[in-house]
């Protein structure tokens, strides 16, 4: 999703991203890639049968990445280049959809890897744009949190379409002045009591947050997965968000906006990332975050290998490199997210004191089980009936909610 917003640190860069994204390329029509259209797509990924290498061969000397801004920083790219001789070129994408467009036709023989988020993964896998990897060639994978070793958003039928990278939860951020004790329900976001003092992200995937809340508060709807919603469930979630609309002060698009909203006291409760909480707390604001009893949504990124990757050996070297504890820690602290590798925790603390706990990198497995990670809403949703609401309708509905 609009991930350039997550960096948040550089206003100027973000603004530039807005401008650039505004006139972004059409991605080239190309030939409509294999896999077919939404509802009719087969349930087997087109590349499922592709053989995986048994060892990493001679490196090609270069590597082309599609990444989120902040995912290819010199502090870990330069040592990588020295160690492997693979010269890294990076194309930054502004959104998940831009990543999907860039990866059309298997990366077009141009790109090797993409740092896709969960909401793009299934589109890439079922579009045939990424192919399975031999996960055993990436030894650090065994050090990952168990839930990120073979998560459903990047592993299908036992085949890994990439290696997990970093993740984070979408938390409930609140002012300690208004809430002396942490709120235990997302219901505060729908409470008229806080009218005009609520902020949530300007992002269609927010519908999943409403669905998650409804899955616990209205069991009669029968929501089991907030990303797999039938029409009545979807309508219920959208209606909840429409009721919430008059209470919202601002749908934030940049992390920095939410930070200033809380700093000035304009808003007292909202949906946020841990990054905002940590920045606000560091600035002395009386705020905290929590994961309410209904659980939370979250994002998790995966480095995925393009079907037509021209430099597969350098790509494997990169996946090995960025999953090591040290790089995992550097990335986590730089971006404000949680590493997949459990051994990164102590290194995070050497980079920035207390950062491991701040980003919950040492939390018990039960904590992570409360997070429902983003995945692309598809028409076919596991019940074999193809009656779920696909992502494009999420976007349309979101415009109606916000508009």
């Amino acid at each position: 999703m609009s991930r350039w917003t997550r960096g948040g640190a550089l206003l100027a860069a973000a603004s530039a991203a807005v401008l650039i994204a505004g006139c972004g390329s059409s991605g080239g029509p190309a030939s409509s890639s294999s896999g077919g259209g939404g509802a009719t797509a087969g349930l087997t990924p087109p590349q499922a049968g592709t053989a995986v290498p048994s060892s990493v061969g001679k490196t090609e000397g270069h590597l082309n990445l599609i990444a989120w801004e902040g995912y290819a920083q010199p502090q870990w790219v330069k040592p990588f280049q020295q160690a492997t001789g693979c010269q890294v070129s990076t194309k930054y994408a502004g959104s998940s959809s831009e990543m999907v467009s860039l990866m059309a036709n298997g990366g077009g023989g141009q790109y090797d890897l993409v740092s896709a988020s969960g909401d793009a993964d299934l589109r890439l896998i079922y579009g045939g744009d990424v192919k399975p990897i031999n996960i055993n060639l990436i030894p650090s994978w065994k050090q990952f949190h168990p839930f990120l070793q073979s998560p459903p958003f990047n592993t299908i039928g036992g085949k890994h379409y990439g290696v997990s990278y970093e993740f984070g939860p979408n938390v409930l951020l609140y002012s300690k002045k208004t809430f002396p004790t942490a709120p235990t329900t997302w219901g505060v976001l729908y409470d008229k009591k806080y009218s005009g003092q609520i902020t949530v992200p300007d992002n269609p995937i927010q519908i999943a947050d409403a669905a998650l809340y409804l899955s616990r508060t209205k069991p009669s709807l029968g929501i089991t997965d907030p990303y797999e919603l039938t029409q009545p469930q979807f309508t219920a979630a959208v209606n909840l968000l429409k009721q919430e609309h008059p209470l919202i002060k601002k749908y934030w698009a940049l992390a920095s906006q939410e930070i200033s909203l809380f700093q000035s006291g304009t808003t007292v409760v909202g949906a946020a990332w841990p990054y905002q909480t940590n920045t606000l707390v560091a600035a002395g604001a009386k705020v905290a975050d929590t994961i309410p009893s209904q659980g939370a949504t979250g994002w998790a990124d995966t480095w995925m290998l393009a079907t037509k990757a021209p430099d597969p050996n350098c790509a494997y070297k990169w996946m090995q490199w960025v999953t090591t504890p040290k790089i995992q820690a550097q990335q986590a602290v730089y971006f404000g997210e949680t590493p997949a590798n459990q051994l990164a925790c102590p290194i995070m603390n050497t980079i920035q004191k207390g950062s491991c706990a701040a980003y919950h990198a040492n939390a018990p497995e039960s904590y992570f089980q409360t997070i429902k990670f983003w995945k692309t809403p598809l028409a076919q949703c596991g019940n074999g009936k193809n009656d779920c609401v696909p992502f494009q309708q999420w976007v349309t509905a979101w415009t109606q909610i916000v508009g």
Binding site: L11, V18, G22, S26, Y126, P204, L378
Partner: protein
């Protein structure tokens, strides 16, 4: 370019009589080219004008046409690739209440900002053009144009600091005993920021129009017994109108196409056409619908410009 070079390189084409076919006296190829061009004005014009014209056609118009064509396609909801099958669905979707509200809000704000800027710019332009000393005029001009030296983003962020809760405006209002105000992240905030940001684009043409009005007309009006207000209404305003309309083209079209100010200072009900286009491109990857939406401001501006021409905006500015 080619023609100018040839002319400079060859002999001065002073004697057309010598120019019998093939018989150019100095004989060099560049001279012959030069002579040929001199004799054929249409060829000279074609060569001079074709590079910019080609640029205009290929880069500017062709991209618009491509966009217009895209608006009739759809996108595969799953793989985000374009599906080249013709449909009016995108345009039909525009006429649903959600998008009509957004279009209406955008046009309404553009109109409001234009009126605000016109009302502010008229007395300001009048003072600059007809009252201020030469030096004062220079100072005012600098003051008007000074904000344009700073980046758009920086100025919008400055307004966030001013308008947000506990911001400068609220502090000032509390100081003078009016109580705290909190208009940050509202459409009012958006209106203020837009009016501020585009004001110079209105002042300059209005000033230009007012400055050109001869004093004698105003004196004549007075001699015929018109009071001040009557002179303003019957002489000054009609003569300055083309300037106001020219300025309004800027303020209206700039507001119409903006999406950063709504994003940064707008509230929960501040989506503009541009924001929806951005969401459809950046988040949804729905290029065809974004293209269909982008046609809306173009159509609005076509009508606006036709109206402006009827009011004489393009005659004297």
């Amino acid at each position: 370019m080619a023609s100018t070079t040839a002319q400079q390189g060859g002999p001065a084409p002073g004697r057309p009589a010598a120019g019998t076919p093939g018989g150019a006296p100095s004989g060099g190829p560049s001279a012959r080219v030069s002579a040929a061009l001199w004799r054929r004005a249409w060829l000279r014009a074609t060569l001079t004008l074709s590079p910019p014209l080609a640029w205009f056609l290929v880069i500017y118009l062709a991209s618009l046409v491509v966009m217009l064509v895209t608006a009739f396609w759809t996108v595969n909801p799953f793989t985000n690739t374009l599906v080249h099958s013709w449909t009016l669905a995108n345009f039909r979707q525009l006429f649903t209440s959600t998008y009509l509200t957004i279009i209406g809000r955008t046009i309404g704000m553009a109109a409001l900002v234009t009126v605000t800027d016109a009302v502010l710019a008229f007395p300001f332009g009048y003072y600059m053009a007809r009252v201020a000393s030469h030096r004062g005029r220079q100072l005012l001009f600098t003051a008007v144009l000074l904000p344009l030296w700073a980046s758009y983003i920086a100025r919008v962020y400055a307004w966030i600091v001013i308008l947000q809760k506990g911001g400068t405006l609220s502090w000032f209002f509390t100081k003078i005993g009016l109580g705290a105000v909190n208009i940050g992240y509202t459409n009012t905030a958006m209106w203020l920021v837009f009016s501020y940001i585009w004001l110079p684009f209105m002042i300059v043409p209005v000033y230009g129009a007012l400055e050109r009005i001869p004093d004698s007309l105003l004196e004549a009006s007075g001699d015929l017994g018109a009071r001040n207000w009557r002179t303003v209404r019957s002489v000054l305003l009609p003569l300055a109108l083309p300037g106001v309309v020219a300025g309004s083209i800027f303020t209206f079209s700039l507001t119409l196409g903006d999406f950063i100010t709504p994003l940064l200072v707008g509230g929960a009900n501040s989506n503009f056409i541009g924001n929806v286009i951005y969401t459809n491109l950046g988040t949804a990857g729905n290029l065809p619908f974004a293209a269909a939406l982008a046609v809306v401001p173009i159509v609005i501006m076509v009508f606006y410009l036709l109206g402006a021409r009827a009011l004489g905006a393009f005659e004297s500015v």
